[in-house]
């Protein structure tokens, strides 16, 4: 069965500043409910929530493999909306993936990008 990555993009820092603890709890509860529902359906193959972009370190090896390791503070691209987490979803087709992705709170709090994963077992 095809696998899709549902990449959740949001403006985490703005959300943190504007969200009350009660609202935050509600968001978390909605995420949990999604996890239980999609998990029970056998759709979720993995996923993580990421710490904010301010905790990111970007690595680049200069001069090809084995070259100088350059680590810099912050995410690769400084945009307002950043990758905040992801799920791996086993779905029969894109329509199914879209219908699950639309139930992730990130889809209304930010946006969710659905990308098919490459299946290396297929030529």
């Amino acid at each position: 069965m095809p696998m899709y990555a549902a990449l959740i993009y949001d403006d985490a820092e703005a959300a943190e500043a504007e969200t009350t603890p009660e609202q935050w709890q509600e968001v978390m509860a909605t995420y949990e409910a999604f996890g239980e529902k999609a998990g029970a359906a056998g759709v979720i193959a993995g996923g993580e929530a990421l710490q904010p972009p301010s905790t990111a370190t970007t690595i680049h090896v200069q001069g090809g493999q084995g070259g100088d390791v350059i680590a810099t503070d912050g995410p690769f691209a400084e945009t307002k909306e950043a990758l905040g987490g992801f799920y791996l979803l086993n779905c029969a087709d894109l329509d199914e993936a879209i219908s699950w992705a639309a139930q992730i709170p990130g889809a209304w709090l930010g946006r969710v990008e659905v990308r098919p994963c490459i299946d290396f077992s297929e030529g």
């Binding site: 029969a92 087709d93 894109l94 329509d95 879209i98 659905v114 098919p116 297929e122 030529g123």
Partner: protein, 412 residues
């Protein structure tokens, strides 16, 4: 081998174009790949061009093409030294499955193809191109020419869309009932976009590109054939027929735009208007009115009126009111104001026009104001309105009309 005459070739080409969509639709389902299916259908067409001039056209050319394409696909797959799992699956399916297509299956295949081509996950331009290519049998250069884009751009657009369908696994199926309203909207929009592109191209000098409008109507007919119980499908076909019926009267001998009020109504295609009227009456009986049926009703009222003055403006104004309630837009608001001006007088129409917000950049808004001001004898204001319309960068034929209006009003 007897060399086919050009006439025979043309006749075969026409059959292939009529049957091609069905054959391709079936092959895509059985092969799970648009590219493989297109290659196989192409092989079958080459065979038809060889065989039909000699053997005659078979009784059921669609079935002949489907069977031949299936065999061609099997040949192609067998020749592959190394097959992907998908190709293996396609081959197993082709070998086990009897090739004879059944009417109901063919119908479902076409419907699947229509929904796949118009999938919301595809770029809107690509949806239009894919539908024209797979369902209408147009070639990429033909589609590129119709939309006035370079051939390479159009080819790239189609390749990318096909790659996305395959890569992201866009399903080849008719959406479930709960998805249908949204997905149907996308299909109708694609067909209507083909039609409006033909009629309102701001980039083309000719106001009507008939070929593209014919393709849109062809798609509309196919849609109604596949979904006869969906009133908006029928409404869209009726709208296109009734609008297209006026094509010959829309321009004068010099190629200039003729306003509806001034059109020679004997040049309208009254058979097409009658067909639209019959279709619409049937659709309205289902009491599930939508924007396409409302627009079709307006177009039919125009089409069946013997003169501009004889037109049932009260009903048209009312229909625009309903349309504004369910699908509000500046264009609808302006058209409603124009209809009210005819029904209740220019003052009433002008009052409505002046209440419309956000229309300042649309030339037809200023043009409509100019017309009503002119009628009220407010010549100076009318000139200002027509000039404002000209400043909105109208398409060439509208520009000619606006410049002429300014000249007429400025004359001593």
């Amino acid at each position: 081998m007897v060399r086919p005459t050009t006439d025979a070739e043309r006749r075969i080409a026409e059959i292939v174009r009529t049957e091609g969509g069905q054959v391709l639709a079936t092959l895509i389902r059985r092969l799970g790949s648009i590219d493989l299916a297109e290659d196989a259908v192409q092989d079958a067409v080459v065979r038809a061009l060889e065989r039909w001039p000699v053997d005659g056209v078979p009784d059921n050319p669609g079935a002949w093409l489907t069977t031949t394409a299936r065999n061609a696909a099997l040949d192609r797959l067998r020749r592959e030294a190394r097959r992907t799992p998908k190709e293996e699956a396609a081959m197993a399916g082709l070998e086990s499955d009897p090739p004879e297509p059944v009417d109901s299956v063919v119908r479902d295949d076409l419907l699947r193809l229509l929904f796949t081509c118009c999938h919301p996950a595809l770029n809107p331009d690509a949806r239009v191109a894919l539908a024209l290519r797979t369902l209408c049998g147009l070639t990429t250069p033909e589609i590129a020419a119709a939309f006035l884009v370079p051939e390479a751009t159009m080819a790239q657009r189609i390749v990318r869309a096909k790659r996305k369908i395959a890569g992201a696994n866009i399903p080849y199926r008719v959406p479930a009932d709960h998805e249908l309203p949204d997905r149907l909207g996308a299909v109708l929009a694609v067909v209507y976009l083909v039609f409006t592109e033909a009629h309102h191209s701001s980039s083309s000098v000719a106001p009507v590109r008939v070929e593209l409008a014919d393709e849109a109507i062809r798609l509309g007919r196919l849609m109604v054939e596949l979904m006869p119980d969906v009133p908006e499908c029928v409404g869209l076909l009726a709208l296109m027929l009734a609008t297209h019926a006026r094509r010959d009267a829309r321009t004068d001998a010099a190629g200039e735009l003729v306003l509806l009020a001034d059109q020679d109504r004997t040049r309208w295609d009254h058979d097409a208007i009658a067909e639209a009227d019959t279709l619409l009456t049937g659709a309205l009986r289902r009491r599930d009115v939508g924007p396409y049926q409302l627009q079709a009703a307006i177009a039919c009222l125009h089409g069946t009126a013997s003169t501009w003055d004889d037109t049932d403006w009260h009903q048209i104004a009312e229909l625009y009111g309903h349309l504004e309630a369910i699908a509000p837009s500046v264009a609808v608001a302006v058209n409603r104001a124009v209809a009210v001006a005819e029904a209740d007088g220019a003052e009433a129409g002008l009052a409505l026009l002046d209440d419309i917000a956000g229309a300042e950049r649309w030339h037809l808004f200023h043009s409509a104001r100019g017309g009503l001001l002119r009628r009220l004898g407010r010549t100076d204001e009318a000139i200002v309105a027509y000039r404002a319309a000209l400043a909105c960068d109208p398409n060439p034929s509208d520009r000619v009309f606006l410049e002429r209006s300014v000249a007429e009003l400025s004359a001593p």
